[in-house]
């Protein structure tokens, strides 16, 4: 066993105190480890731009980078407010963002608005303001395979 490992925790704490800092307690370190494990697991599953702790099946989100100029921030707040989004209080964690503001609306409302957007596209195509490519044009897709796996001998 090395000299440093033989030294007791109490001695190490005393040494730290002599150097002008205090080491965190064992409980605090264990809690931090627990928290880090959970957070890392969540972050690894989440993609950049995803809000941690919000179920996308329940809420649609809109993310505002708080490093944007103030006027731009106000513009988006106004736009999203008109779209029925409500700002989350506090600072939720958004993967990849230093500081972000998150706005939400219920998924069923977002889906209804998406359907309205499609209807508005259809109306604009009908009135000649948009091209039919906005509705997919004359395109269809077929599948010749799947080929289920077989053994190669």
């Amino acid at each position: 066993m090395t000299e440093s490992k033989r030294r007791s925790t109490k001695t190490r704490a005393a040494d730290a105190g002599a150097q002008g800092f205090t080491l965190p307690s064992a409980d605090k370190l264990a809690a931090a480890r627990e928290k880090a494990t959970t957070r890392r697991h969540v972050e690894q599953q989440a993609q950049a731009g995803q809000v941690i702790g919000i179920d996308p099946a329940e809420f649609a989100t809109a993310i505002l980078d708080l490093r944007l100029p103030r006027l731009k921030q106000e513009y988006y707040r106004e736009r999203w407010s008109l779209k029925g989004y409500v700002k989350i209080e506090g600072e939720p964690l958004v993967v990849g963002y230093d500081r972000a503001e998150v706005w939400v609306k219920r998924r069923e409302d977002a889906d209804a608005d998406a359907a309205r957007r499609r209807q508005s596209i259809e109306d604009m195509v009908a009135s000649g303001r948009m091209h039919r490519s906005a509705l997919g044009g004359r395109q269809f897709t077929k599948q010749a395979l799947p080929q289920r796996r077989t053994e190669i001998i």
């Binding site: 731009g49 989004y85 044009g137 004359r138 190669i152």
Partner: protein, 306 residues
């Protein structure tokens, strides 16, 4: 004694070809333009590959993996713009005849441009993905081309989801999220694609985000900490076009993959000719083009706050 002022009775007419659309072929900087001469365009994609099996001294066989193919068929679309005016009217405004050709050609090309961007705006629509469905090689029921939870290895071991949909205001961080999404993207067999690293990215924004986009991509330095701007080597085109449905939407497209694009079967042709009876003049622009989507969405990320 009064003198005759000849200048007062003469007339000088100058006509300007004004109101021409600019940057009319910007779509060509955001996608691969196909020029095939055919009645139909078929774009096939195969879900082939995946993670390899290791062969060791103890290996006596290798299991074959599933594969799937998808073919998108795009039918040709014919377009025309036509003006017919009485021939005698053109005598007093002969410049109209001169300008008609140029303006019609310009309008035709801008129509193709708009065809592309309107097509982009439709990619958020549910059910717009050519490979939507719940089977092998498909991405999930009623999926949009730009959507969250687009399945790979569906029904198989290792199944997971890609997402090429962001819901963020355009910013440097948001753009970085989009690049990360392209890098993390997995193909239909679950292999990471690491797209966007070859310097072939095109960023498409509306006019409101043009300035920010050009600054984020073009600046020498990045952020308040003045680090080098890593976007410069990755995004080589910033394209701004007035989007119709939502000016805040934005797209990042890997042009090397070009999951969407324009097929031009017949380039615009402009004709100006008199009618059979000589009473009218027909001015016509005509062309054949279509917006295409490849069967899979690899190579595009979009942001839309619904």
């Amino acid at each position: 004694m009064a003198t005759l002022n000849l200048e007062a009775v003469s007339r000088i007419q100058r006509a300007f070809v004004a109101g021409l659309a600019e940057d009319t072929a910007s779509y060509a900087r955001a996608c691969q333009v196909l020029n095939a001469q055919a009645g139909e365009l078929q774009l096939g994609s195969a879900a082939v590959g995946g993670l390899a099996n290791e062969i060791t001294t103890g290996t006596s066989s290798v299991s074959a993996a599933n594969m799937a193919t998808k073919t998108s068929t795009i039918s040709e679309e014919h377009y025309a713009i036509k003006h017919t005016v009485p021939a005698y009217k053109l005598i007093s405004s002969d410049f109209a005849l001169d300008q008609a050709g140029q303006k019609l050609a310009n309008a035709a090309i801008q129509n193709i441009n708009k065809q592309f961007y309107d097509g982009l705006e439709g990619l958020f629509t549910a059910g717009s993905h050519p490979a939507k469905g719940t089977g092998v090689g498909e991405v999930g029921a009623n999926k949009a081309f730009i959507d969250s939870a687009l399945a790979y290895l569906q029904t198989e071991a290792g199944a997971g989801n890609n997402s090429n949909l962001l819901t963020a205001a355009f910013s440097e961080t948001a753009l970085d999220s989009a690049i990360q999404a392209l890098q993390n993207y997995k193909d239909q067999r679950g292999l990471p694609l690491n797209m966007g690293m070859s310097g072939s990215l095109a960023l498409v924004v509306g006019p409101k985000n043009r300035k920010s986009a050009m600054e984020v991509v073009g600046s020498q330095l990045s952020g308040a900490d003045m680090q080098i701007n890593t976007m410069r080597g990755l995004v080589n085109e910033v394209i701004s076009f007035p989007l119709t449905t939502d000016e805040d939407d934005w797209f990042l497209i890997d042009t090397a993959q070009s999951p969407v694009g324009i097929w031009i079967k017949t380039a615009p042709v402009v004709e100006v000719r008199p009618s059979d009876d000589g009473l009218f003049v027909h001015m016509v622009a005509k062309w054949t083009s279509a917006f295409y989507k490849k069967p899979y969405e690899f190579g595009i990320v979009g942001s839309n706050v619904a």
